[in-house]
């Protein structure tokens, strides 16, 4: 991939909702504002999502007696964040299907 191709590919995600999985297992969902060669990503209006701990899951299963009991992820608003490239494990693009409009992003 040459530079201009790369630039136009990455540029189409600006302002689009991304979900970024970090090395410690958290997921950050927000609008992409900025990125660079080091894959450092700045997200705006971000929410942090954290998987429930094993302890909580164990309790939920015990209490309901159902081995597939639903346990919610914890989420909170964290606003504007920068995720260092070294900690980015997975990047997901969240394409909205609202009113049948396509986002026009080529994935």
């Amino acid at each position: 991939m040459d530079n201009s191709e790369a630039t136009s590919y990455v540029s189409q995600f600006i302002g689009q909702p991304l979900r970024i999985h970090t090395s410690d297992g958290r997921v950050f969902g927000g609008q992409m504002k900025c990125t660079d060669k080091g894959r450092n990503i700045i997200l705006a209006l971000t929410y942090e999502y954290r998987a429930p701990s094993a302890e909580v899951i164990r309790k939920a299963v015990e209490e309901s007696g159902n081995p597939s009991a639903a346990v919610n992820w914890n989420s909170r608003y964290v606003g504007l964040v920068v995720i260092p490239g070294a900690h980015v494990k997975k990047i997901e693009f969240e394409e909205s299907q609202l009113l049948g409009q396509r986002s026009g992003v080529v994935v």
Binding site: T7, I14, D24, K33, K37, G79, V81, V82, S96
Partner: protein
Amino acid sequence: MADPSLLHHDAAARDTDAPIASNGTGPAFASAESSSFAQTSLPLRQAPRRGAPPQIHDVTEKFTRACQALDVGQLIKDEYFTLFESIGAIEIMDAKMDSGFLQPGETLEDDFDLLAPLLPEELIGIMDQLLSYEMAWHTGYPLSQTLFTSVYIDRLLYPEPKTIPQAQFYRGDIPDDKRPGTLLDVLRAYCLALIKGCDYVIAKIMARDYFEEEDFATHTYNRVLFVQVPIDVFLRELDASVEMIEDSDLKIDDELRSAIIARLHFRKSFLCALDPECPLELLSNFWPPVLPHVDKVNDTQHLGRTVPGSFSTKIQRRLASTVPPRPIVEVEFKDALQTLKQLCADCEEATRFKDLPTDPLEYQSFLWTFASRQPAPLTYSRSYLSNILFDPYILNAPVSLPLEDVKSFVFHESPILDPANWALSPPRNPLMPKPPRLQFALLIDEFVERVGQPYLDLWVALGQNRCRLRRMLTHVIIAWDMLQQDAVFVDADLVVHALQLNIAEEVMDSPLLTWVYIKKLWMIEKVIILGFEQDIYLPDEHAGMYYFLSLTAGKRKDALQRCAEHLSERCIQFVQKSRYQDTNDTDKKLAFIDSELQQATGISAFAKALHGFYVIANYLHLLPCPGRPFSTEELRYELRMKPFLTLQPPEVPPFEEFQTALQPYGAYSDPKPSINDDLKQEHSLPWTNIDASLKAAKDAFADVKKRGAKGAKAKGVEQAWNKETQGMLASCVALGVAVAGLKSAVKNTELGRGPQLKVELPTVDKRYVGGWVVPKIVKE
């Protein structure tokens, strides 16, 4: 989401309505509105259409490859996203910034068992620690670093309970054997009342002007502090807790028992006092009962025992938080109680406001004195006072407050304010001129309305803390300056109509202009005095600033003099017309003007004396003077005078004039030789000027003192007023001593070698009056 075409249609329909609506009165407007709806298709809101769930694409691999192909330093970014904004971003996985980052082995939450039974000592410990944090919050720390670090409070508020019975240290059903015991129930009641108290505090502070995070942090991190629940629910919980503790079946030590009860009583009385719904006339009943409980809490504080783990920074992770994690604030219980006592005392003092006579000048004295209280009142106390001041009962008094203020200075028993003027009707033919008396009424009404905003601005400024008061006043002065320009026109119109009625001699020359000018000059004086109080000016600038103060107060004195002269004339007119009652009333008003006049005379003369003293001290190099290689005196002068440079008429003297006043013998570093002889002679001009000013100041302040607080319209704050007036007299005496000391020291030494003495400037707490820096001469 509404269909865009429908939205547009609706907007267009409203547009065509607009002309009809603006012509019609109320009912016509309503009918126009309804008929337009009948004509057009109904703009119903559409239920939001649910789209398909978003589709997730994993772009990791391609994204990474694309990033690698970017150049070093190349940023792919939103056009409007700036470097400045990016600085505010929180760095994920950085322990110092990211509150969600876990150290290896660290768990997200502490495993603190909220239902574990408490000892009575531990209950007391937790209650006292909560009180400490509450006070830390009052002094400006956010809730996230104080009360919200309590695991008990956190559990009561989150997950958000729908009802108060749901607000427990657990959620849902639990087996009976795990239900919280009596002491935990008591803690719950205490916490609930505490949380409601915070809600009340926030409500009161947000109702008035305050500065978020500078004064106070109202942020509740999306936790709802039982906003909708009325106070009696909390009082009931507290009462029930008192009963539970008093129950003789509960086996606890009597000392501990009474300590817990004292805390519950305190919480109850405090919550009642914080209640914002409390009617104005009952306010003063609620603060006095709080203090005895505080003392009891203080006496039994040693009984408490802290519970490790009952407060935790980890809770910050769950607060919707966009700031890095911060440590819990450490507060000494002793300091917290001091803050609490101060809060109670200030609020109690504030409740006295409602008993003041309905006179804006009394209000102004009260606001000024309240802001001068030491230690400075907390944000809550200041909002508390502002809320009383801006209560409709006070603000919508039957008389117009600004007009009352005007009346105190000009317009005594004036035909311009004759109530009959307001009873006249305009002529039926609009082309006929309105009768002059009606014109008076209209002009005054117009002016009063124009005054409204600048007048309120002044009061809002007086409700701030001292530092901000000084800065805000400089802005308020600008608004009053514009008001002054407008007053000129109203005055001109008043004269025209007074001439028509042939009563020109009964109307003062430019009455409204004079009033606005007096108020404006008063504010300028306060700005300078506050500058001294807050040590804004360096010692070598004292001479210049006191010079400016003396000039300003002198102008106010002249304006007041004109008011006094007019009043005396009116008195004579009344006597001639045998209106003895009016003569008496005018005499009373004259008493206030005279008091103000003496006050302004005193300030002007004393500032002049200080100016003279500091000039000599500058020549003798007795004051520290920092090197300033990058500025000139002229630029520094401009900077100091900046807030006042635009005022009309010009208040700031030209630099040359200022320079002549400050350096009568030429530059400090190279004075004219004649200074030597002048300073050595006791009866030379520099010394006699100081002595004369000092004497004039002393006489004026003595006169003000004799007239008393009532004469100065400061009856409501008589004690503080007396103290300040006494302080001014004492300052005069102290300056006299300093002048004598300097005089004798200079006499015995050669100027070039410098006299063996030192000038000491007292710090603000050691001065008789904060804004008056009277130096002390110390021989070495």
